[in-house]
Each structure stands twice: as C-alpha cells, then as structure tokens.
Assembly symmetry: C2
Homo-oligomer: 343 residues x 2
Amino acid sequence: MAVTIKDVAKLANVAPSTVSRVIANNPRISEKTKQKVREAMEQLGYHPNFIARSLANQSTQVIGLVLPGSASAFSQNPFFPTVLRGLSEGAQEKQYALQMSTGQSEEEIYEGVVQMVQGGRVDGIILLYSKVEDKVMNYLKNRDFPFVVVGKPYKYCEEITHVDNDNYRATKEVTDYLLGLKHECIGFIGGDLNLVVTVERLLGYEKSLRDAGIDMKDEYIIHEEFLREGGREAIKELMQLDAPPTALVVADDLMALGVLNTLDEMGIRVPEDISIVSFNNVLLAEMSRPPLTSVDINIYNLGNEAAKSLIQKIENPKEPIKRIIVPHHLVTRCTCGERKEKQ
Amino acid sequence: MAVTIKDVAKLANVAPSTVSRVIANNPRISEKTKQKVREAMEQLGYHPNFIARSLANQSTQVIGLVLPGSASAFSQNPFFPTVLRGLSEGAQEKQYALQMSTGQSEEEIYEGVVQMVQGGRVDGIILLYSKVEDKVMNYLKNRDFPFVVVGKPYKYCEEITHVDNDNYRATKEVTDYLLGLKHECIGFIGGDLNLVVTVERLLGYEKSLRDAGIDMKDEYIIHEEFLREGGREAIKELMQLDAPPTALVVADDLMALGVLNTLDEMGIRVPEDISIVSFNNVLLAEMSRPPLTSVDINIYNLGNEAAKSLIQKIENPKEPIKRIIVPHHLVTRCTCGERKEKQ
DNA sequence: TAATGAATTGGAAGCGTTTTAATTTTATGA
DNA sequence: TCATAAAATTAAAACGCTTCCAATTCATTA
C-alpha cells in the first residue's frame, strides 16, 4: 500500500540496502547515488516505516510514561501538565515520542508497564511518582530496564537514576522561615505518607523544629490526599484543637487553596491569624486570595531533566547512575506574617 | 534475547503458527494444545512482541494525540489533563495506548503528525483543538486517515467525525440568562478568533443579543489568549470604556479568574457591580472568590467519547461519520446577580 | 474397511527495515 | 595493461509475528 524502501530502490535503480544506507546517510554511499535515491524518495513521497525499523533495530524511539494511579490527582493538580511539558520538550529534542501507560488500578498500571517493556514498545520509562513500596519500580530495577524516577526512590536511592528537588532541605528552610517570623506552633499538612515526597518534607519539617528546640505535637501533623478536599479536611481538624497552630507548612498548593478557602469560611484571616507556606508554586499560588507564599520547585525542569537523562541512559547503557537535584526557591507572597502576641 | 514465539513452540512441541493461534485464542486449536502451549508460555515467561505483531498486522493499537501548540495553554489550563483522562480511560478499555506528538511550532507539530501517520506509528489520531484553518486536519482528511476532532471543524463539518459541545447554544443560553437578570450591557471576552470554539461562542452571544433587540457594541468584544493574563488585559480595556458592561460572558474559567482578580484589585465588586458567567467549570471555578457561575461542558466526556469513536472508526473503516454533542449545563454559583439601577 | 470430510496442525511467505558478508566496480600504480 | 587494493553496491538473512495454504489426523459413514 504505502510506498516502501523497495519502491524507492526500484525507481532509483539500486538495491533496497542502498536506500536504507542513504536514509542513514552512511558515508560509504557515493554522493551521486545518494542524490539519485533522494530524488526517488522525493518523487514517491517516501516516509520510512517506523515499525519495521523498530523491529530490525530493536529500538523504538519511544519513552513510556507511568502516571500515578489517582485519576483526580492527575487531572486536577497542575503539577502533571507542567512536568509533561518538560518531558515533552526534552524528548522532542532527541526525536523521542512519549507514550502513556494507561490504567486505573495499581494492578492495571503494573500490567501496562510489563506490556510496554516486554512487548518492546518503549526504549525506556519515566516514573512520575515515587512511592515507598512500588512494584513497578522493583520490576524495572530487577530487569535492569532503562528508567528514571521523578522524585526520590525510597529504597536503592543510590542505584536508581532520579530527578528531584531537595525536599528535605526545602521544607527545613520554609519551617525555619516561619520560625524566623516568631511562630512556634507550626502545623504540617502533607499528602499520603506512602509518597516519598511527603516523607521527605515531613522529615525536613521535623528537623527544623528539633533544631529550634521545639517539641513536636502529633496532632499538628495531618496527612490527606494532594487535593483541595484534603486541605479542607485537614484545616478543620487543626482548628478544632485547643491550641491551633499559628502557622502551617502545606505540602501542595492545591491543598493550601483548600485550606485558604476553608479558613475564609471560618472567618480566620490569613496572614493575620495564621501564616501559610506551601509547595510547588503553580499558577494557583499566584491567583489565590491572598496570593500564596510557595516554594517554586521548577516543575518544568524536573520533567525536562528526567527526559534528558533517560535518553542518555538509553543511548549509552553504561551511563552511570545519576541523581539530579533541581533547585527550588521560596516565592514570598502574602500568606505569611509575624506571629502576633496573643490578642 | 527475549523469549520468542519460537522458543515457546519448541518447548511445547508445536509449530510457531500454532502458538500464534493460541495467543489469538483461535477456535481452530484444540483445548488440549492450547493448554500445553499456555503452560510453555507461562514457564518461559513469554510476552508477545508488540512491534513484530504490529508489523505483521499493519496495526499498532496506538492512538496519536495532537495537542495545541501553545505550551502554556496546555500546562496551565486544566481542560487538557481532564480531557486526557477521558481519552486515557476510553482507550484503555479497548487496549489502546496513547502517544503524544510533541512539537512546539506549527511546523514541528505538522511534521510530527506526518511521521506518526506515514511512519505507521499509530492507527488513528485525535486532534485536541480545532482551528479555523488547520494544515494538520487537511492532511488527515486528504489522506483519509482515521481521526476525530475534539471541537467542531470549521470546514467540512459534516465530513469529519467530531465530539463537541453545542457551544453556540450554550453561549446563547448564558447570555439569555444574563439578559433575564436585566442586564443590557453585556461584554464578551473570548479566546483566539482562530479557534473555532471562540467563533461559536461569539456567535451564540451575538444571536442572543440580536434576539433581544439589543445592538452590539464592538468595543464590548475582546479576544485574548485562554489564560489568566488574557483575562486581566481584557477587563482592563473594558473598564476604561465610558459605559462599561454590567455583565460579562467569559469563554474560559482561567480567563474569568484573571478578570476576577483584576476587578478585585480595582475595587469593583462581583456580582454587585458586575456579573460574570464563564465556561468549562474546572476546579478553579469552585475555588475562586467568589465562586464562579460557569457552564459545565463535561470535559471528561469530551475525551472519553472521542477515544471511543476513534476506536470504532479504526476497527470498522466503514463506520459512518459521526457528530457527537456532549451536553452542557450551567452551574450557578455566586458571580451573577440582577442588574441594579444606576446608583 | 475404505472413503469422505471436518477438525487440527504445520510450513512458509510476508510485513518493511537493517546489517553482515559477499560481490562488483573503480581507481591505483608498476 | 594487468594485478591489486579500495570503494561502492548488492544479496540475503534477520527481527518476531500473522496468516494463507497445504498436510496431517481423526471421526464418520457407506
């Protein structure tokens, strides 16, 4: 049906193998024949068949993407489109395509990955999340299949190439920042404890308090899903305490927005009554009322670096394990203020 | 390297063709051999090679996605992740994978599509936008390659399967709604006029005013990008008019948020001083202050239906052209009120 | 028991490339 | 002018699967 290498060969009066070499721009073919063949390709409107090439080459120029199972997290949290853009541009540069593994449940996702890998559909995989115990990651590691993680692997951290922020330090910094504003009762609202990012941020928070000699209260630490609803639930709980915190570290902008909305409904003012600092600095952070003080984690770069290092690894199997830390910085807006003396 | 159909055949003591038939669950193979072969597959950990299968079959079980060029629109507007989820679940059901065509510029995108199509990488394509004049769409149509459009094709609307809302009617309805609230000076803030969705919504708006016998003012109609910045710019212009509108139809929630923020800064109250109704009803609409009255266009379904109908078309080439209209409904929140007499 | 036909299975070609090894062509120098 | 080396090209196998067609097996029936 479609025009193949053979048609081109016939028209140009050469062997198929010669055409193949012209496509690859092999130096062993004379300029004269190259010219001739190129004209034939042009004339027939030839386009190489990727599938056939993949089969012969054992390589597809496709990168598989594994998204977290939570559908709502994916479609509501702007983190994903942004990281996707970084990935996409990194891949595009080296002529790789991106393929998404679909699947709702844990098991479906795992099966999808196995199919991608064993079915030879992709040359490498990027995990867009990092869980404490992850079947998919174990599988890829055991098979020694090229992959990189966006986030920090919980186990074998030294043996897996990954791209992440220094979430531990970042959280320590923002907690220090709140301490600097005289706050002493600082709460933490994080995501699912099975996500490594939550763990890291929690540790940073704890470290900061410990260094400051403040003892932690368990009731100040809440875990919910990375969504607005999560934020709402969390803040309700916190405000019911006898001594509610005067400042909060919230692990995600969307959650923080939920917190903000709920506080607004409760008539509690930000930053006068309570200070908030959150993470990710997505567009929302700028648009909320009041605009959120948030840690910019460079989401785009997270994706972009991940794509680049995966491609390096694919193209050079002996590429060493890498750990890429993308810098973060605090964007100060309007949700933090000095603690006021009890009024 | 990997275990192939031949290895299985050898172990099970049958011909490769038999193994292939067992995989396809061909009824012409006896249960006994099927059992035998399946055991061998199990034992060897066999997984079929998709690439080889694709080559033999001339089909890939992959759907290509074409995203709009504007990187920021993609990564900031929640429309895309949501439609992506719909697509993903629709595709997953029928065991199709999704592949994104990457590319920044118009030209890069076009080239990406050509490669996907002529390279045999995908069985069909979904366009996630509809422009007034689109090279990609023309190309696909001329080649008679299976594709569906999310949105309404500008030309050849009857000849292209597409999934859309009735944007014309929806906009007429919301404009009527504002008229019902006694507003007479109603502005329209839309996206790029090259996008068909903008055109449709503008037409609906105009129709409503015409029916009501209100003459349109050109200065009430503004076009900007579908982003928050766009909303900011637009409202600034409008409020500088001698007789600024008392109500607005805004074609996108994100824009509306920009409008809201800017009005807030200008000290203009919503809905007391000006009413706003917008489109899409993404999470933002609920979270803005005040919460936006917005038309829910069922983004998830848009994607889901698109995936389903493309797959139908792929699997049955004589499937007739279809036009799927996804229902919409107005979600009334807090940004609309009756016009007050001039104060 | 042999012939018939249906049910199974096997062999081989083909999908469109790449690539190795072999062959042909061209250039070189005595 | 001819042998020889270098350069250019070709033939054929391989990638792992599907599928058409032929061959075999098996159960029926005359």
